[in-house]
Each structure stands twice: as C-alpha cells, then as structure tokens.
C-alpha cells in the first residue's frame, strides 16, 4: 500500500507569529498493483497537539493508531495539565518501530509526526526500521526522491501558509505525474497552536498534453 506524503513547516508572517504546518497526502490505498481504495484518510490528529501521517501498510497504520489512542488516553487520565506533545509522541513511535524491527516483525509504515505545542513547532519522521529524525520538511516514499529536492530549493523560514500550500501542490503534482500509485485526490491539513483542520479531498489541475508525454519513446532506441 504505497502512498505519498509531504509535510512542511511554514510561518505566518503576521504579528501573531504562530507556527503553521502544511501537510498533504493523497487518499488512495493500493492492493498490490491495484489502486483499490480511493478514499482512505492517511492523516490523523493525535491528542491536542500532533498530527500523524503514514504510508505503507494501512492495517499497521490502524494498529499504530490504536497504540496512540491508548497512550493519549492514559495521558489524559492523569488529569494534571500536562500533555504529550509532538516530540514525545514522535519518540514513543520511534521506540515502538525500532522494537518491532528488532523482533523481525516490523510495522510496515513510514510515519510522519508533527505539531505545535506552546509555540514550539516540531516535525519528525520514523521509518519501519526505526530510523528517525527531525527536519523542516519531510516526505515518505517517492516524496523523498521527487518532492524533497524541490523543497530544499524553495522552502525557507518565512513561508506564508498560502505559499506553503502552493509549494506542496507543486510537489504533489510532480508526484501525481510520476508515481503510478498516486491518484488525483488529496487532502491538506493545517496545524496551528489553536488546533488542526484536515480539508476535504480535492484534486489538482493537471495537463497531459505535453509533447514529451505524447510520444514518450521517441528518442529511445529499440522501443516502440
């Protein structure tokens, strides 16, 4: 079940200087090479402060959501004004993924975890073998190869939310054209200190009449 994600930090250039996150993922889930499900939400809010996005095996993602549900529940049961922020959740997930990898029974997912707590922004990723790190922009799967180079060029500290969305859409369009398991139906999530919203699925405008698309094998010797 491949899927792609892009997640970046942006900041609103207004006096409030609240940190805003911009996340995008498409809503497809494949069954082998069949694009079977076309309305799967792969981004979920965790607790008050974080958002989790996943690619890979959807059933394992659902299992992870159950673990996190329990984690957040126990955190809330303390009822003491403390709460687990994105950093804590990210590290918890790292422990879980790494431990499963050590038992040769991995959760087959690439996870992205981000959020804002007390004005501190956080964006991190964990792979199925427990490799984890933080960065200003992260992606899973093909996103790492196709989108991150674009982000490395064009991301900067003072991106506004609107510019961030445009940047992500640019990346998603590339992925749409080039990854055969992507579909043109995606969601965007916005995270601020106040809370988070996940949009309804929508599509990007695409253009398929490029001359290179029309005759892709023109220059390739021996192909038809």
């Amino acid at each position: 079940m491949h899927a792609l994600h892009l997640f970046i930090f942006t900041r609103r250039p207004r006096p409030s200087s609240s940190h805003v996150f911009c996340w995008k993922s498409d809503v497809s889930s494949s069954y082998g090479s069949t694009l079977r499900y076309k309305n799967v939400e792969r981004m979920k809010p965790i607790g008050k402060h974080s958002l989790l996005g996943a690619s890979g095996e959807i059933s394992d993602f659902q299992e992870i959501l159950r673990y996190l549900d329990e984690l957040i529940l126990y955190d809330n049961m303390w009822d003491d004004g403390n709460s687990l922020g994105p950093k804590e959740v990210h590290n918890y997930l790292t422990r879980v993924m790494y431990n499963r990898r050590n038992k040769f029974n991995p959760l087959w997912n690439s996870l992205v975890l981000g959020g804002v707590k007390n004005g501190q922004k956080y964006l991190g990723t964990v792979s199925m073998i427990g490799v984890n790190f933080e960065d200003n922009h992260v992606a899973t799967g093909f996103g790492n190869h196709l989108a991150r180079p674009i982000l490395r060029q064009e991301w900067h500290e003072n991106l506004s939310f609107e510019d961030g969305v445009r940047l992500l859409e640019k990346c998603m369009r590339v992925l749409l054209y080039r990854d055969r398991s992507a579909i043109n139906k995606l969601q965007i999530a916005k995270i601020t200190e106040e809370g988070m919203t996940i949009s309804q699925p929508y599509s990007l405008k695409t253009y398929w009449e490029f001359s290179a698309f029309e005759n892709p094998t023109q220059g390739a010797v021996g192909s038809w």
Binding site: W78, D80, N82, L84, G85, K87, E88, N91, Y92, R95
Partner: protein, 275 residues
C-alpha cells in the same frame, strides 16, 4: 500517642478510624534531622541539616539528584529514602528514554504516593519511614511537593520536615508570601535562615548543612561547601541570639518531640539507623 491494641498490624483499623502503624511511620519522619524546601516561580531550594554518627564519620546523604530537573530531600529512615530515590531515578530515566522529554514532577509524585499507599494496605509490608521533599521544574513551572509515608502528597510554597522543623516552618510562614518573586540568591538566603532556625543555637556553618538548587536554566545540583560558607558569611547569619529566642517558643510547641530534639545534637538518644 501511646500503645494500644490496634497498632500491631498496618492493616488493622482502630475504632476511631485510624491506622496506627501508618501514623507511627510518620513519627519516624519527625525523628530525622531537618530538611526544608522553598520555591519561587523559577527556582526551588532544598536544604538539610547534616547529621553524622560520630565525629569520626561522614554525614548522611539526605539530598539526592533524581534528574536534571528534579531533586529530593529526605527525613527519617535514610535507607528507605535511598531506595525511593533509586525508584524515582529509574522512573525519570525510563520516561526520558521513551519520550525524550523530562518527566513532569506532578506525575512522579503521584507515582510515589501510590507506591506508598500500597504499603498501607498489605499485611506483609510496612510503610516507608521517610518523608520526601520533592523539588522539580517542568513545563508548568516550579514545584515543591511533600510525600508522606501515608501515601498523601501536598504541594507547598515552602515546607520543613524532621526534628525541630517547627522552628523553620514558623520562619517560612512569616516570609513565604515574598518567595514567588524572590531572586535565586534571596531564596538561598531564606533557606539558610530556615535551617539555622532548626539548629537551636548551634552556629550555622557549611559543614552542618547542605543546600541544593534547581531552577530555570539551572539543572539540579548541590552547592559545594565553599559557596555555602561564602553565602553564610555574606548574609552574616549568626547562630546564637535569634536561635535561642526561637528555641524557647518552639519547645512549647513540640512537647512530644522534646526527647528527640535533645538527642538531635548529640547522638545518645537516637537509634543508629535514624537520621
């Protein structure tokens, strides 16, 4: 408090609804040498009176670092205190490892209290004979808690436990309203003054007390003897006059502990394991 037929077992209630063994455990805290704690919005200071078995021996360790952001001062059975400190350190380390974040003090204190409660409801266990002053800094600010052998815990602006702690408490009660906005150094001064109150006329020297600090940007650490002596000298804290005046008022308030108080400065009246 005197012996009665309901005090043999920790799991036996008295007709008045008391658990005597638990209350006796709290007495053990009162026998230990004093420990005090106070806090502002950004710093917490712990202090204790040093007690040595004899002139030849070193003094008992009563203040323990639990993590960079948490420390504890104990009064009562130091062995019990040591074991609980090890538990606290373990909990902090495990939390840090899993979440890469410091354990919120309030949660550690609740865990400690729940652990203490277990000992009040098992016939094969006994309550811990140690009171803990837990000082810690977390996201929600500076905290000072007192954990009781009964399994209760309370949050304080300032507190004192152990023998002759009433003198320190009186001093702290007079001054606590200023603590929230005190500077770090003023807080240490207040801590030293409070410790001096418990010394009952003995001179306050850096060899007779230990002071530890934790605060915003300052991990928990015990101040070294030199620094403490400098602060004592700087504040010109003299033991004699004020100490004896406080002692007169304080003796009346603690009739039951009078025997222990006298045993405090020499060691004849105190059992070897009780510090």
């Amino acid at each position: 408090m005197f012996r009665n037929q309901y005090d043999t077992d920790v799991t036996t209630w008295s007709p008045a609804g008391r658990l005597f063994q638990v209350e006796y455990a709290m007495e053990a805290v009162k026998q230990g040498s004093a420990a005090i704690g106070l806090r502002s919005k950004t710093h917490i200071i712990l202090g204790c009176v040093n007690k040595a078995n004899s002139e030849l021996s070193s003094h008992q360790k009563k203040i323990f670092k639990v993590d960079d952001h948490i420390g504890v001062a104990i009064a009562g059975l130091t062995a019990d205190g040591r074991v609980l400190s090890r538990y606290m350190r373990n909990e902090c380390i495990n939390y840090s490892f899993t979440y890469e974040s410091p354990l919120p003090v309030g949660r550690l204190v609740v865990q400690l209290a729940d652990k203490a409660q277990v000992c009040t409801q098992r016939s094969w266990k006994r309550p811990n004979g140690v009171g803990l002053l837990v000082a810690g800094l977390d996201e929600s600010g500076a905290h000072l808690y007192y954990n009781c052998p009964s399994g209760n815990y309370f949050e304080y602006q300032a507190f004192a436990i152990g023998s002759r702690s009433q003198a320190a408490k009186t001093y702290l009660e007079r001054r606590f309203e200023n603590f929230a906005d005190s500077s770090r150094d003023d807080l240490v001064k207040d801590a030293l003054m409070a410790i001096r109150e418990t010394l009952q006329g003995e001179t306050l020297k850096s060899s007779t007390c230990t002071v530890a600090v934790v605060g915003a940007g300052e991990p928990f650490h015990i101040l070294d003897q030199e620094t403490v002596q400098q602060m004592i000298d700087a504040f010109e804290i003299v033991g004699e006059q004020e100490g004896s005046a406080a002692a007169a008022g304080q003796e009346a308030a603690q009739p039951g502990a009078a025997v222990a108080d006298q045993g405090g400065s020499t060691d004849e009246g105190v059992a070897p394991m009780d510090i």
